[in-house]
Amino acid sequence: MNFASAAIEILSALTTAANLFVIAAGLSLVFGALRIINLAHGSFYMIGALLMASLFALGRPGVLFWPALLLAPLLTAGFGAVLERLLFRRIYRAEHLVQLLLSYALSLILADLALRLWGADSRTVPPPAALAGRLSVGGAGFPLYDLFVIALALAVGLGLWALLHRTRFGWEIRAAVEDPEGLSLCGRNVPALFTAVFALGAFLAALGGAAVAPLQAIGPGMDSSILVSAFIVTVIGGLGSIAGAALGAAVIGFVQAMGTLWLPTWAPAFIFLAMILVLVIRPSGLMGAPARAWSEEE
């Protein structure tokens, strides 16, 4: 393998990692604020991608790419808010087993409904004309759309940081993580805040799904394949930590790139080995805080 194709392989792994970060950030945000494990997070990703494909197909080829990229995650976020009101709200303080099974049940239902609504065929969405080309650097042609996905992930990371640390909304979320009752006593509407956080998590999953549409075929089964990857990233980084999600995505991107370069057949096994290794050395992930008092036993 020469230098140019190696560089393209690495860029492709970085793109996967960048997109995984966007999805994992949503998972981590929801866990950090609401303390729930959402196994239906992959379903939001799939719904985002499917909505993207459907909205895109409404207009003449290429015209609706940017509106669809924004609208698909927004619609999914609205759907997420409804599910939070109806279901997730009931299980914030339930055992992990209840949370895992409720969200798993939901993912089964959503997978079936998506199959009903969109069918079993996979769809494709071409990248917009402006990003369809390649950027030539030193004899290697890097796909522009890959660079866009990486830039989008950076923007999401910065945006989330600013949201959590520079706005009133972020201040309230962090306060709710520390002490929901206290915040409630201060007159804040904590349930509405939680709905908003859950919707934001769904938005991020769907944004990841919509952004990945030009890179792969869109169809059923996307939900469970991404879920395991997103969980690995979040767990390696430390559940609840956005910076951890970025670090976890970087670790997985690196392991995957090295794996594909040298031992392609073993690349998937390396990812699980990386997760096992990290958890054995640091049981709460690289940047995760030990579990909060009231989520512990006794």
């Binding site: 992990h96 087993l97 895992l100 049940a105 089964l108 239902i109 699980f272 958890l279």
Partner: protein, 304 residues
């Protein structure tokens, strides 16, 4: 066991012994599947319901049990009658090793570590093409002819499952089983009282893995095939779901759950494409409104 429960078990056994002479072959195979699933779910419930350890990785041991029988045949390592009893031993050994690592983490992280191990073994089964035939799986005449015909096959499965469940029942209601329940209820207090919590958890994990491996070996008797999806996390979720639907706080819960799940699955798959939707909705209702599962619907049922 209370007299009523004894009578119930005896009656159920009589029904099962009569089944091959009453049921059509198709339904006999459904029942055989349900028996294997019942063992798989009861073994998983030793962790989930009894010890309070939520494992999403028991398919690893189920799959290892299945692959033990299949690989022994494929490579001519051992005859079936040697490979079959070896399956739970090998699965138990692997459970001992992975449990020693996974049990370092607690609660949610434990669940995710077991899930990672399950996926790791799944990837290994798929990638070690020269040994396992990869994603194609292994199929062929790996089971003695006698066990392939429906009636002897059913009686063999029934005998093994009954013996294994009797053993599991003994374990669950022994002082060891009570200690596991103490760990589930108050881990710190159990430790303070001088219980070797870590050793008990590892022993439970190993035992559960061995019984899951036995269930996997029985799966091969039933289907004469082994393939990588027997080890993945979706398969790992199955015994947990079955146990929860049946009720995790009693020994009988997972057994009822398995019977219900298998019959509902096999009946619905024929009728509709929406099996997943029905299962999801059912699970949702159980989790939200009937956390005790099916057994909690029976009035005045004693535990055990």
């Amino acid at each position: 066991m209370a007299t009523r429960a004894r009578l119930g078990v005896g009656f159920a056994l009589l029904l099962l012994i009569a089944a091959p002479w009453v049921l059509p072959t198709a339904w006999l195979l459904v029942l055989e599947n349900a028996l294997v699933l019942a063992l798989f779910a009861a073994a998983t419930n030793l962790l989930v319901g009894w010890t309070g350890l939520v494992s999403f990785g028991q398919a690893a041991f189920y799959g290892i049990g299945a692959y033990t029988v299949a690989l022994a045949w494929l490579h001519g390592i051992a005859p079936f009658w040697l490979a079959f009893p070896a399956a739970p031993l090998i699965a138990g050994l692997v459970a001992l090793l992975t449990g020693a690592i996974a049990l370092r983490a607690r609660k949610l992280y434990f669940a995710l570590l077991t899930l990672a191990f399950s996926e790791l073994f799944y990837v290994l089964a798929e990638q070690l093409y020269d040994i396992t035939n990869g994603a194609n799986g292994i199929f062929g005449a790996m089971v003695p002819d006698l066990l392939v015909s429906p009636r002897p096959g059913f009686y063999f499965t029934l005998a093994v499952v009954t013996a294994a469940l009797a053993l599991l029942h003994r374990i669950c209601h022994s002082p060891f089983g009570l200690a596991l329940q103490a760990i589930r209820e108050r881990r710190v207090r159990a430790e303070a009282l001088g219980l070797a919590v870590a050793h008990h958890e590892l022993a439970a994990f190993t035992l559960s893995g061995a019984f899951c491996g036995l269930a996997g070996a029985l799966y091969v008797v039933h289907d004469q095939t082994a393939y990588p999806e027997l080890l993945d996390w979706v398969k790992s979720g199955e015994p947990v779901i079955v146990a929860v639907i049946g009720g995790i706080s009693s020994f009988a819960g997972p057994l009822w759950g398995a019977l219900f799940y298998q019959i509902a699955h096999d009946a619905l798959v024929v009728l509709t494409r929406d099996w997943q939707l029905v299962l999801g909705a059912l699970l949702l209702l159980v989790v939200l409104f009937r956390p005790g599962g099916i057994v909690s619907l029976f009035p005045g049922r004693e535990e055990g």
